[in-house]
């Protein structure tokens, strides 16, 4: 079992649904995005293409963030999911420097989204489960997955651009998409072997 995701850049419309549904699921503080959408344009007028690149933690098979973690807080768990044990993280941020994909965030403070106006009831509830002074990142929504659901960003994606599943199973939808559509990893030369694949935009 190796959990993975295929993100279809042809289907993705840059709606930020993943970024925001992830935020809603995990109640991440301001400035922290387990899922994020990056927009970049290529070419010159009028042969221009605006590409939307939704990102998250790639749950690398060869994760540099795990290698550098001094406490083992960052670790591989079932299905190859790279996760952080909250209570073991010392907040050294070596993992942030090691991750080539900007997937990790340091949880600086517990200020909410309405500065100077306290925390909303939602924030109070969500922040109670978080620690300050540690690093946070996407965990492939492992709690949802174990409960038989898809990750929040996958379940919600309006364009159905994201497919989650078992990359070890050649018959899984995600494996087939990666194979048939020529899925590519981001910066494969780094040797990180991400388990998130991008399907080409054209």
């Amino acid at each position: 079992m190796r959990y993975g995701m295929a993100i279809d850049l042809k289907r993705c419309i840059g709606c930020y649904g993943c970024q925001l549904s992830c935020k809603a699921e995990h109640g991440t503080p301001p400035g922290v995005f387990f899922a994020r959408v990056v927009k970049r344009e290529f070419g010159t007028f009028p042969n221009t293409q605006l590409v939307y690149l939704p990102t998250l933690c790639f749950h690398c098979t060869n994760a540099p963030c795990v290698d550098v973690c001094p406490t083992g807080a960052s670790h591989y768990r079932e299905g190859g999911v790279v996760d952080i044990t909250k209570d073991d993280c010392v907040g050294c941020r070596a993992c942030m420097q090691a991750c080539p994909y900007g997937a990790r965030y340091f949880n600086e403070t517990q200020t909410g989204y309405f500065p100077g106006q306290g925390l909303t009831p939602y924030e109070q509830k969500k922040y109670a489960a978080q620690n300050v002074g540690i690093v946070l990142k996407c965990n492939f929504c492992i709690d949802r997955v174990q409960a038989g659901l898809e990750p929040a960003c996958v379940a919600n994606c309006a364009a159905r651009a994201r497919t989650f599943g078992d990359l070890d199973d050649p018959h899984s939808e995600v494996s087939q998409l990666v194979r048939l559509r020529g899925g590519e990893q981001l910066q494969p030369e780094l040797g990180t072997r991400p388990n998130v694949y991008y399907l080409p935009p054209a």
Binding site: A24, V37, T48, P121, Y122
Partner: protein, 850 residues
């Protein structure tokens, strides 16, 4: 003890009204997801929808009724709010409204936001019961509906259209982002459009900017703003005159193309019945259009009929478009003539005129092409002809509401299998042209009512093709009202949410008009720029705290088109309203009783909501909002499926039928490719206008479309070398969601959301750096400031500004000072509106202020 529940309801962050499930733990909303049991959204939401938690819990929400203490009203002037009780508030509203009602009910001016569609029915019913015709939706003359809804209604019995995503092979979008960033049913369309893309549907997007739809298109066709009619007319010319392609059968049977037109441009009519005549080639003489067995109707030729030389409308159309050559269109639109020819050829070829397909055992026409238009192309002075010209592309190849073509939003419904309700279909009206069969929201572009001396603030009576006119907030409103001798002036304004300061045009003009209104009551969830002009603010329950039996204007507006399922969802509170917030619908009904207009209201409700049998309201009985909702649901879905059933189940769904979706082949109605009715309209309207001293140009009332320049195209001063245009941001609903901090944060990450998009080469030529603050200035001296984003995705002559941002209210701390308020550049006056449908122009000539 913890409580944990999922409550089915409806999103209200844009008019898409996707069905949601709200996860509530210990009375706190912790997550909003899509409801997979509903066809509306199919379990998936856009980014705004999931961010609704932050709108619900915004600490800047209004919690108590507020009374103004500062009599001075103005932009940025603190009203000096004083908290009052609901009783006090309602007493004052009642007193004010009673006075107006006794005096002249038309002095009540009603305005509402489009964002929350659920309030549409209560507000319209209240207005009707009260007796005021003066009501508009925010945005006014800029509103989506003036051109697009009108033409959608005339041709598709619908408010708008989409390509048949399941079967279409080539869609051309003219200024619409359907399925990509905004538009009707945007979430569901996003899924369908992605499927179409995966399937290989070719998408061509005509747009000044390559942002949402164009970013995903196979081809982006950059266009100068406001010139869509020129492009479309040239395409029609190539198709009809160079390629000689048209769907003769469709044109003959489903349009007025065969109607004989006399030298005066009008129908040649049957002397006896007054019905338009057509030439029957088989019989060799003219017959009435509705003669049975009129199979061989001539589309070409010239005939002597009833003493005149008459020609089928189609011939006139073909001749008319001859003048719009691709070379001519290139000069106006900047789209190369070769591209225009190629697009026309591709459209005509891909239409596969004559082909059929079997669906559900029925052989149906198959025309897998669609020309789609919305805000972008309709948002101009030339709104009507822009949409008319584009729609002709669908009409000449017969790609309207057939498999693969342009589909209206559910103009036909044969109801739930058990109750047969709701039931509606278009039917044939005067001169055989289609009358929409839609309901709940009356949408009756046809038959066109006779123009009369205007007695409403919008001057609507004189312009029956207009939905909302700028006069309700224009700089020359007093002048126009005086000209037409409007016998009253607005005395009380009842506003629901709408923030017209940001959505109508430049805020100075809007502010002046608002400041003249003696008393303004506003139902609000936050204090906005509009509140600076309100006398009384009533704290509304937001969409997550309110109840409604009809949250999505079923089904013609924001219910997915195409095959699939019908779904009727409800909205219900997922948490109780905090503070003293009350749902506006309930408050309106309370006002009905206080004002003593209960009989009128109940009568209106019976028709408007199509209440039936035992579920009809008794005239004299008071009903609470909840009871009316319950009766409405029972009325459609049976006594056992009232509000209680819906609260538990959230939504009722049943499958769509082929006859409902591809209805064109099944119903005997015609649509106009030649607008003969405009001639009559002009004849009647012009004298009224002239008598009032209003300039009148007959060119706007030609039965066939042409390109008419926007004011921006007529600016002579070469210093103004840029065209400003507007687009909707996927992250925001007009001005509303800027206050949502999750969305604000995403906008700040986005390169376009809060910036002024300028073509990179143009910017470099002007010595600008990316991110540099600039001031844009219009020829009228209107200015806005913002940061430029240099990009390759914009036409070199243009600057694109997204959203309706640029808030200044201190009561919106998140939204304040973010983004650019495009509308502050727009003039709101007669000269910038359409003299046919009153649509306000949304493009403006600009320069970077030195």
């Amino acid at each position: 003890m913890t409580t944990d529940q999922w409550i089915a309801s409806t999103c209200g962050l844009c008019y898409g009204t996707c069905s949601i499930r709200a996860h509530v733990v210990d009375d706190v909303l912790v997550k909003i997801e899509g409801n997979p049991e509903s066809a509306i959204g199919r379990g998936r939401l856009c980014g705004k929808g999931v961010a609704g938690i932050m709108t619900l819990y915004d600490p800047n929400r209004v919690n108590v009724p507020l009374r103004r203490t500062n009599p001075v009203k103005g932009k940025g002037v603190d009203p000096g709010w004083r908290e009052i009780s609901w009783d006090e508030a309602l007493d004052e509203v009642t007193a004010r409204l009673t006075k107006v009602h006794d005096d002249d009910p038309r002095k009540l001016f009603i305005q509402r936001t489009t964002t929350n569609t659920a309030i549409r029915a209560p507000m319209m019913m209240f207005a009707a019961a009260f007796g005021t015709p003066n009501s508009w939706a925010a945005g006014g003359g800029l509103h989506c509906g003036n051109g697009a809804h009108l033409i959608g209604g005339l041709y598709h019995a619908s408010w708008s259209l989409v390509p048949d995503f399941k079967h279409c092979r080539l869609a051309i979008y003219f200024g619409a982002s359907k399925g990509h960033g905004a538009g009707h049913v945007s979430c569901t369309n996003m899924q369908d459009a992605a499927d179409a893309r995966a399937r290989g549907m070719r998408l061509v997007v005509v747009d000044p900017m390559a942002n949402f739809a164009s970013a995903k298109a196979n081809e982006w066709v950059p266009i100068r703003p406001g010139t869509d009619a020129a492009l479309a007319l040239a395409m029609v010319d190539v198709i009809l005159n160079d390629l000689g392609v048209w769907d003769a059968e469709y044109l003959a049977q489903k349009t007025n193309a065969p109607y004989l037109i006399g030298p005066d441009g009008c129908y040649v009519r049957d002397a006896e019945t007054g019905k338009p005549l057509v030439w029957d080639a088989a019989r060799g003489h003219a017959v009435r259009y509705d003669t049975p067995d009129g199979a061989a109707l001539a589309l070409e030729g010239a005939y002597d009929v009833a003493g005149v030389r008459a020609r089928p409308a189609f011939v006139l159309l073909r001749e008319h478009v001859r003048q719009f050559s691709p070379e001519w269109a290139e000069r106006i639109s900047t789209v190369p003539a070769a591209t225009i020819r190629r697009l026309a050829r591709e459209f005509a070829t891909e239409a596969m005129v004559g082909s059929t397909i079997v669906l559900d055992g029925k052989r149906l026409p198959y025309r897998p092409v669609a020309a789609i238009y919305f805000r972008g192309s309709q948002g101009h002075k030339n709104s009507v002809y822009n949409c008319f010209a584009i729609e002709l592309l669908n009409q000449v190849v017969g790609a309207a509401d057939v498999v693969g073509g342009a589909l209206g939003f559910n103009p036909v419904c044969y109801g739930h299998p058990e109750t047969g309700k709701p039931w509606y279909e278009p039917k044939s009206g005067p001169d055989g042209l289609m009358i929409t069969g839609t309901w709940v929201a009356p949408h009756l572009p046809y038959p066109i009512s006779d123009p009369k001396h205007p007695s409403t603030m919008s001057l609507g009576g004189l312009f029956p093709l207009g939905m909302f006119g700028p006069t309700m907030a224009s700089s020359d409103q007093e002048e126009l009202w005086t000209k037409f001798g409007l016998p009253y002036r607005p005395e009380v304004m009842l506003n629901y949410g709408a923030n017209s300061l940001l959505s109508v045009g430049n805020s100075d003009t809007v502010a002046e008009t608002l400041a003249r209104i003696p008393f303004i009551v506003s139902f609000d969830i936050t204090l906005t720029e509009f509140s600076e002009f309100a006398d009384l603010v009533l704290p509304d329950a937001s969409y997550l705290e309110a109840l409604d039996s009809r949250p999505n204007v079923p089904f013609i507006f924001n219910h997915p088109a195409g095959l699939g399922a019908w779904s009727w969802p409800v909205r219900q509170p997922v948490v109780p309203p905090a503070g003293q917030r009350r749902s506006a619908a309930e408050v309106l009904i309370a006002l009905v009783d206080r004002l003593g207009i209960r009989e009128e209201f109940n009568a209106v409700a019976n028709t408007h909501l199509k209440l039936d049998g035992p579920h009809r309201l008794e005239f004299g009985t008071p009903y609470r909002h909840e009871e009316i909702c319950d009766r409405e649901l029972k009325s459609h879905f049976g006594a056992e499926r009232g509000l209680a059933w819906f609260k538990e189940h959230g939504v009722i769904s049943w499958p769509k039928r082929v006859e409902e979706v591809y209805w064109r082949a099944f119903l005997d109605v015609r649509v106009p490719v030649y607008w003969e009715f405009l001639i009559g309209l002009n004849r009647k309207a012009k004298p009224i206008a002239n008598a009032a001293g209003l300039d009148w140009d007959d060119a706007w009332y030609d039965p066939l479309p042409r390109w008419m320049p926007c004011p921006s195209h007529e600016v002579q001063d070469g210093a103004f070398d840029l065209w400003g245009f507007y687009y909707r941001d996927t992250l925001h609903t007009n001005s509303f969601t800027n206050e949502n901090p999750w969305l604000d944060e995403a906008s700040r990450l986005d390169p376009f959301s809060y910036t002024i998009a300028l073509n990179a080469a143009t910017g470099r030529r002007k010595g600008l750096r990316d991110g540099q603050p600039v001031t844009l200035e219009s020829p009228h001296g209107r200015r806005v400031r913002g940061r430029v984003h240099l990009t390759e995705t914009v036409h070199p002559e243009c600057v694109g500004i997204g959203g309706c941002a640029g808030h200044w209210a201190k009561t919106l701390p998140i939204a304040r000072g973010k983004g650019v308020m495009f509308n502050d550049l727009l003039e709101v006056d007669w000269a910038h509106g359409s003299p046919v449908n009153l649509n306000l122009d949304t493009c403006v000539k600009l320069r970077i202020a030195p």
